[in-house]
């Protein structure tokens, strides 16, 4: 199995999840609210005319655990759907292999369960 992780803008979360399902048929995701920054190093805010810096920006961390064959499709779908048109801050997507992916409910490995 492959873990696909993506950092995306919070307002793109649902768009990205829908795009993954449409492109690959994969259903199932974990969303974690996250903060962070890329090369833009955060943002300057203004409050009552005074400025202050926020190093971090609100993002979301999405995790999809998918069959190996689906991974390239998921990555492509995420990258495409997460693009906002802004100059920076759209985030990243990456993959990593994971093992022993097991359902709590059945106690069975997902690879075996889905091979049936």
């Amino acid at each position: 199995m492959i873990k696909v992780e993506a950092i995306v803008l919070r307002e793109r979360v649902e768009i990205v999840i829908d795009a993954v399902e449409v492109a690959t048929g994969h259903v199932g995701v974990t969303v974690v609210e996250a903060v962070g920054h890329g090369r833009e190093r955060g943002i300057t805010h203004e409050y009552r005319g005074r400025v202050f810096e926020s190093r971090f920006l609100p993002k979301a961390l999405l995790t999809f655990v998918v069959q190996d064959a689906l991974a390239p499709g998921v990555v492509a779908a995420v990258a495409d759907a997460a693009r906002s048109g802004n100059d920076s801050g759209d985030g990243l997507v990456w993959i990593a292999p994971v093992g022993n992916v097991t359902h709590h409910r059945t106690g069975k490995r997902i690879e075996e369960a889905e091979k049936r």
Partner: protein
């Protein structure tokens, strides 16, 4: 002092106290509307109450008070614009001869807070998507429209008053009228992004803070003790001394019945005793009893309140079914209930109380005559036609030439940050210096060590 002067003094104390209570209803609207809106719009929607009350207060002094209560003809007041201190200090003299037992200034204060309530209702249905400048522009327009119809119904020279329309404190004038403009606004703005799915089904968009909404409702209920009883405009009403106490009682009975009626209806229809529907029930009952409060027996107040509680829940659902997005429920709570309260007065007005007030006749259940109901319906039709078409026309023009709805990215980011440059709850959205997540927690470990010094504040 002569006895007459003492009565004027007592009346003025009561009217100013009542006006201050009604002004506090702005706090109720701020909390109710903020509570029923999303977090990203909370500061904007609470803050706009201050903005529009400011607009309303100035416009009402300049032209509204003269249009509504200045001496004039059957359609409109024609005197008392930009009133001077001498015009406002006189009692029962031109241009405000209507106020025969309080100074014109007390009259202004009491009436401007009513205009402010009516205007506050308007934005409930337009919440979370209207451009900020519309609040200034339409706030001024609506204040003028409101002043004209309040002259029809409340000024003894007004044509609906002359027909005997009974609207003690403004179910029609304040609430129905605010809801008409709210409906026009909601229709022209269209629903919020995501309110209705592609198949047309309504998605719930929950408010972000129910305790706020509850507190707002309680403050409105409290303020209503100025709104209805204060509409006696004095401590002696006809031949009854202290009649305002009785008006407060009918008001409270109706609100109590409405809260219970609302929660019971929600329990039956939605299968859950929804808190926001209970609040809507209490508010709808207060709206409905507003016309009737001076005219009806205690049992009738309870009937009116219960029915309003039922109407509030079914009305909110019906408005949504029609594809109209009304985030706070203004159309159902103030519109449908305003209509109900106005008609109910024609049904339940006690002949003796109507005679003492010198307005209209007894209602259908006492007299068997539908005369008063027809008068009430005529008033509703006239105000409805005028205010809805004028509001729709004004907002349509603004939409056509300048646009009244914020851009999509403004709506999705929320009006707090996009219109005002700061969220209502900044620490929820961005890390703030010294804010949430950066606090020292030594006290939890029992160390009691001193907090590290905060960063030096920027030099001023």
């Amino acid at each position: 002092m002569k006895t007459a002067d003492v009565v004027i003094a007592a009346n003025t104390i009561w009217v100013v106290v009542a006006a201050v209570l009604v002004m506090f209803m702005q706090a109720g609207f701020a909390l109710l509307e903020a509570g029923l809106a999303r977090m990203k719009n909370a500061a904007h929607i609470a803050g706009k109450n201050v903005l529009v009350f400011g607009v309303c207060s100035l416009v009402y002094w300049a032209v509204g008070f003269g249009l509504a209560f200045g001496d004039g003809n059957a359609l409109v007041g024609t005197h008392g614009f930009l009133p001077s201190s001498s015009a406002l200090l006189a009692v029962g003299k031109a241009p405000f001869s209507f106020f025969s037992t309080v100074p014109g200034a007390a009259g202004y204060l009491f009436e401007v807070v009513f205009a402010g309530v009516s205007l506050a209702i308007v934005w409930g249905a337009m919440a979370e998507r209207a451009k900020l400048w519309v609040y200034f522009a339409f706030g001024a327009v609506f204040t003028v429209l409101y002043s004209i119809t309040s002259h029809w119904v409340w000024h003894p020279g007004g044509w609906l008053y002359s027909l005997g329309m009974q609207d003690f404190a403004g179910s029609t004038v304040v609430h129905y009228q605010g809801a008409l403009a709210a409906l026009a606004g909601a229709l022209l703005l269209g629903p919020r992004i995501g309110k209705f799915g592609r198949d047309g089904r309504a998605n719930p968009i929950p408010g972000h803070n129910m305790p706020y909404a509850v507190l707002g409702t309680i403050i409105l209920w409290f303020g209503w003790f100025g709104f209805n009883p204060g509409s006696t405009l004095g401590v002696v009403t006809g031949n009854r001394i202290g009649y305002f106490g009785y008006v407060a009682l009918t008001t409270n009975l109706a609100a109590a019945a409405g809260a219970l009626g609302g929660v019971a209806t929600a329990w039956a229809v939605l299968r859950k005793p929804d808190v926001s529907m209970m609040l809507n029930g209490a508010l709808a009952a207060l709206v409905a009893i507003t016309a009737a409060c001076g005219f009806v027996a205690p049992w009738a107040a309870i009937v009116i309140g219960l029915a309003a509680g039922f109407l509030a829940v079914t009305g909110v659902l019906a408005v949504e079914r029609l594809g109209i997005d009304d985030p706070i429920g203004a159309v159902a709570v103030h519109g449908a209930s305003g209509v109900w309260g106005t008609i109910a007065t024609g049904l339940f007005a006690a002949p003796a109380l109507a005679a003492n007030l010198g307005t209209g006749r007894g209602g259908f259940v006492y007299t068997g005559s539908l005369h008063q109901v027809w008068v009430q319906l005529l008033g509703l039709a006239a105000v409805g036609a005028f205010t809805f078409s004028a509001s729709f026309g004004a907002l349509w023009t603004m939409k056509r030439f300048w646009g009244i709805r914020v851009e999509e990215h403004v709506e999705t980011s929320g009006l707090d940050v996009s219109e005002h440059g700061m969220w209502g709850y900044p620490e929820f959205y961005i890390p703030v210096p010294g804010g949430y997540g950066t606090e020292a927690h030594g006290h939890l470990l029992g160390h009691g060590h001193p907090h590290p010094a905060a960063a030096e504040p920027e030099a001023a």
